[in-house]
Structure formats: structure tokens, C-alpha cells
């Protein structure tokens, strides 16, 4: 027999965090681990461990990308991996004093778009070793790589190229 009119849900001591009674506002927690595949872009992340930034080059029209993309947006053809130079110039920049919750503890941080010579598109990265006042468009920068890879695009970051007579421009 499984019928039990005296069945009772087990009581726990967990409780619920309450912020307000009227309206009733409670804390609701959510957390998840994803099994995230970088799929056709995997090589980009692996290559950062070898101190290489891999972009893409269209096999058909020759358009070059400073980011991985396995098919060309200009003509739709397949691209091949294309190693980018490790030095470039600041195309634009900002310094973030606030950010998403995940990055708040890292503020302030500099974001830059890097332009590489003879490459048709740009690359977004962090820049360290300079303050907002030091940054300018055209500033030469060079890539550095984390020794302990996290398999994140932040495995590569940029620093200013040492210059004898540093010219500041805004």
C-alpha cells in the first residue's frame, strides 16, 4: 500500500531571505556551469598559448580579419588561419571605471581596438601599463601572453611599446 493520508513534506531550516514584506520580495539564487565549445574557433584559443594571435584570411577574396571567422563576410567563402603580427596601433580606446559585476573588481581597466598593418579589421583587447592620460589613437602597442592560459581572449593583452621620446596626443 502506498496511500498515506498522513504524508508530510519534510521541513528544512534553509529559510528564505526576505527583502520586503509588501510587496513580498525574496532572494532567488541561480548558478550554472556550461560545457562551452569554442568549436571552429578553437585554434585561436590554443594558439594564444604559443604566443600567436590567429586571425583569418579569405581563400577566395583575400580579405583579412584580425579575429577568427571561418567564413568570409564579404564573399561567403571559407577562410584559412592567418597569423597576426604581435605589434599594432591603438585604433580607439577607453578606460572603464565601472563595469559588469564580473569585472567590477578589475576597474579601472583600459579597453582598446588594435589595428594591425595590412589587416582589414580590428582586434579588441585590454591594455595595461598605461593610464587614460597616456592613451592616444595611433599609440604603438605590443601583445603579451599569459603564461598560465585560461583559454579566454584575455590570454593576450597589450602593453605600450617603449618609445624614447614619448609623444602624448589626444
Amino acid at each position: 500500500m502506498t496511500i498515506n493520508p498522513n504524508a508530510k513534506m519534510e521541513e528544512t531550516q534553509n529559510g528564505t531571505e526576505v527583502y520586503s514584506i509588501d510587496p513580498l520580495i525574496v532572494k532567488s539564487h541561480y548558478e550554472i556551469d556550461y560545457i562551452h565549445s569554442y568549436a571552429q574557433d578553437s585554434e585561436f584559443f590554443r594558439a594564444l598559448g604559443k604566443k600567436k594571435i590567429m586571425g583569418s584570411k579569405c581563400k577566395k577574396c583575400g580579405y583579412t580579419y584580425a579575429t577568427p571567422r571561418s567564413h568570409c563576410m564579404m564573399c561567403g567563402a571559407e577562410t584559412e588561419w592567418y597569423q597576426l603580427p604581435n605589434t599594432g596601433k591603438v585604433h580607439t580606446f577607453t578606460t572603464c571605471y565601472f563595469g559588469s559585476e564580473e569585472f567590477l573588481k578589475e576597474t579601472p581597466f583600459n579597453l582598446i581596438m588594435v589595428e594591425f598593418e595590412n589587416v582589414d579589421s580590428l582586434f579588441m583587447a585590454r591594455l595595461i601599463g598605461a593610464d587614460l592620460d597616456d592613451l592616444y589613437i595611433g599609440m604603438p602597442v605590443t601583445a603579451k601572453f599569459r603564461r598560465n592560459q585560461k583559454f579566454s581572449p584575455t590570454d593576450v593583452y597589450f602593453v605600450p611599446v617603449a618609445q624614447p621620446d614619448k609623444k602624448k596626443r589626444r
Binding site: 541561480y30 584580425a66 577607453t94 565601472f98 579588441m124
Partner: protein
């Protein structure tokens, strides 16, 4: 050529017949999204004495499932409003969700599928703190390449603003003037979240979020809802003697990653020539190609060749002051590079050559994402109906006899942009 051919098959005329908006606020925990939409919906329905039987179907406009950790919020609203079992669908496209949903409602009527369509937009952003909210929004950037590096939309827009300043000499004071204008307009909009009387130095002295954008250069998180009711020509004139014609729609897109934006040529509007931009690499990261593409299609559909002369007002997506300046240029109100001067000369002020965001825009009205584009249509509708006084209980913002306006909705870094032209019929 292409667009003119499209026009031959543009379908039935579509009108907006009513609208409703809740007051946008940082947090309204006493109402959930369903009740918020219900309030805006009932306002719109009651304004023209419609009952549920008069509505053929709907479009749901909301952006993020994360904010409430609720999938299928759209059907919950459809259910709450009493619109089941009528047809409905959800439309989503980041910040442009409202504009895209409004255009989907237009398509429902233009295609002949429906004679009346309710487009309802909503967002509840107050269930997480502001910085978690920024994290959710940043998940609308490429999570393999952009989110882990920046993870912050204000940062992305700041980089675009810096490049705009570099290309064209735009100044931080010009950005600030947009904030001053929009917050000031909102003082007379009872639905607005942040009406304020500011000065340029107030804007510049507020905390820096991401250089050059300060706290007052950036819109806020909001809870809110907005509803537009659309109808075919025959129905529209049965419902109201003062409907507003939706003359044309335009939509553009651009690459997800800012990095991938090309360095090509400007798609020209009829009032521009190639020599205007002989040295400009376009769009790069200084301009929104999707905005220009949307404007071009909408202007072509409406036969507009000189936008600043042929439009009387604009409600555009000013999530950032810099975006408003960039959008003046995308919409061809001035040439690329002249946007900073455009605000500096007061051309977009309430009493200027072409009022832009007389409602206060996103900066001051608020930006509950899915509701925002619908809110713009409602404020535009009231302007073109000349009923601002009735709905705002204040006629300060009512423009003198406006005939034609443009609403513009925009998703993250200009990935989706919509432009819709609306016209007064009397």
C-alpha cells in the same frame, strides 16, 4: 532601384490608432510585467473604446530572459491580457527589440493577416542590481571574444565615441549638450524616469563611467511597459478619426563584433554625394552602418530626399549621448562629421530646426529595453495626433502642427537598427 521595386509590393496601408505607456521607474516591485503591460494596454484600449474582441492578434516585445529568469514571458502577458487563443509571437533584437516588434506589427497588418494588432513591450530590470544588469546586457555582445575582454556596453560605446571625436573633432561638451537637452525636455513628460535641469558642467562632473561617457551621458535601467495598437485603413478610421499613418519602415544590421566592421564607403542618401566622404573609412567604429541602412530604406519608402526639411520631429535611441550625435549623421540630418556641431547649434532642441527626443529620449524617459521602441511610437503618435496635452496634462512639449516624424530603435553597438516614418492624416 531595389527599394523602389519593393515599394510596388508594399502591401496595405497601416495606421496606429492608440497607445499607452506606464511611468518608467528604476523599480516598481508592486507590479509584475504582466500587470504593467495590462495598465498600458487598458490605457490604449480605453482611449479609443476598444474591447478584446476588436484585437486580431499581437506581438510581444521584450529583450532579456535573464532579468527575471523566466522564459516565455510573452505568453504570460498574452494570457494575462485575455488575448489567448489569438495569434502572437515574440520578437527580440537587443536594444532594437521595440522597433523590430513595432515593424512586425506593421507587417501583420500590411500583409492582410490581421486588421488590428496590439504590440506590447516590457522589461523588468529591477530584479538584479545595476552591475549584474550590465553583465546581462553585455551577454548581448559576442561571449567568446568581446564579453570576456570588456563585458560592458558603455565601454564599447565609449570606444566608438573616442573614434568619432578623433575622426570629426566631436567634443565632450557637445556630448553633454545632448544630455542637458533630453533631461530638460523630460521635465514636461510625466512618464519620464529622470527629468532634470542640468548644465554641461553637471554632466562632465558626474562620475566617469567609461571615458568620455559620464553617468549623465548614459541611460538608466528601468521597469516599464508600452503598448501600440495598429490597424488597417478601414479599421483605423472606424476606430478613430485621427489615426496616424505608418508611412514606411526600414531596418539595417551590422556585425556582432565591433572589430569586424568594414572600412568601406558611405551608403549615400539623396542629399549627399560621394565627394563629401572621399577620405572617410566607413563605418569603422565611428558610425552605425545599420542606422544608415535603415534610414535609407525608410526614406525611400516614404519618398524623402531631404530628411531635415521633410521631417518635423524625431524620437531616436539615445542610450548614450554619443549615439544621439552619431545618429543625426546616420539619419542624414547633417553630414557625417557634423553631428557635434548640430547639437551645439541647437538644431535638435525642442524649439530648434528639428526637435530630437522631445519626450526626453532614453536618457531621461528610461530604457526598459523591450518597451523602449514602443514608447517612442506612442510619444510620436501623440505628437502627430496633437494630443500631447491630453496625455501629458501639459502641452509644453506639443509641437506646432507636426506632419511627419521618424522613430529609431537601435541594438548593441548598432547591430540591429530600425527607422519608421509616421505621418499625421489631419
Amino acid at each position: 532601384m531595389y527599394y523602389s521595386e519593393l515599394m510596388k509590393h508594399k502591401g496595405r496601408n497601416v495606421y496606429m490608432v492608440s497607445g499607452g505607456v506606464t511611468k518608467f521607474a528604476k523599480a516598481t516591485p508592486e507590479m509584475d510585467f504582466r500587470l504593467r503591460v495590462k495598465k498600458a494596454f487598458d490605457y490604449a484600449m480605453n482611449d479609443v473604446h476598444l474591447t478584446l474582441n476588436d484585437i486580431d492578434g499581437s506581438v510581444a516585445s521584450y529583450f532579456a530572459d535573464h532579468f527575471q529568469r523566466q522564459l516565455m514571458s510573452g505568453i504570460m502577458v498574452q494570457d494575462y491580457l485575455g488575448l489567448t487563443p489569438k495569434p502572437s509571437k515574440r520578437v527580440e533584437g537587443g536594444g532594437a527589440t521595440g522597433g523590430l516588434a513595432f515593424q512586425t506589427g506593421y507587417e501583420e497588418i500590411a500583409s492582410g493577416r490581421m486588421d488590428t494588432c496590439a504590440v506590447y513591450g516590457f522589461e523588468t530590470m529591477s530584479h538584479v542590481n545595476t552591475w549584474k544588469g550590465n553583465e546581462f546586457i553585455a551577454l548581448a555582445s559576442d561571449t567568446n571574444f568581446d564579453y570576456p575582454v570588456g563585458g560592458f556596453y558603455t565601454g564599447y560605446y565609449a570606444m566608438m565615441a573616442v573614434r568619432h571625436m578623433h575622426e570629426f573633432g566631436t567634443t565632450v561638451e557637445q556630448l553633454a549638450k545632448v544630455s542637458v537637452k533630453n533631461h530638460k525636455n523630460a521635465i514636461h513628460n510625466p512618464y519620464a524616469q529622470s527629468p532634470m535641469n542640468l548644465t554641461v558642467s553637471d554632466v562632465r562632473n558626474s562620475p566617469m563611467v567609461a571615458y568620455p561617457l559620464t553617468r549623465l551621458d548614459v541611460c538608466t535601467m528601468s521597469d516599464g511597459a508600452a503598448v501600440s495598437i495598429l490597424a488597417s485603413e478601414e479599421k483605423a478610421f472606424e476606430i478613430t478619426d485621427r489615426p496616424v499613418l505608418i508611412k514606411s519602415i526600414g531596418t539595417g544590421t551590422d556585425t556582432m563584433r565591433l572589430s569586424d566592421r568594414p572600412m568601406g564607403k558611405v551608403p549615400l542618401l539623396p542629399n549627399e554625394k560621394e565627394s563629401d566622404y572621399s577620405k572617410l573609412k566607413y563605418p569603422g567604429v565611428h558610425s552605425f552602418r545599420a542606422g544608415r541602412t535603415a534610414a535609407k530604406e525608410a526614406y525611400d519608402g516614404a519618398g524623402i530626399t531631404d530628411p531635415i526639411e521633410e521631417l518635423d520631429l524625431i524620437e531616436l535611441h539615445d542610450a548614450y549621448t554619443s549615439s544621439e550625435i552619431q545618429t543625426y549623421e546616420d539619419l542624414g540630418l547633417c553630414k557625417y562629421g557634423e553631428g557635434g556641431k548640430f547639437i551645439e547649434e541647437g538644431k535638435s532642441e525642442l524649439k530648434g530646426k528639428i526637435p530630437v527626443n522631445p519626450s526626453g529620449g532614453l536618457l531621461a524617459s528610461g530604457h526598459p529595453v523591450g518597451a523602449t521602441g514602443i514608447m517612442q511610437s506612442v510619444f510620436m503618435f501623440w505628437q502627430l495626433q496633437r494630443t500631447v496635452k491630453k496625455h501629458f496634462k501639459d502641452d509644453y512639449l506639443q509641437l506646432n502642427n507636426p506632419k511627419r516624424g521618424l522613430i529609431h530603435s537601435h541594438a548593441g553597438t548598432g547591430t540591429y537598427v530600425t527607422a519608421t516614418i509616421m505621418e499625421a492624416v489631419k
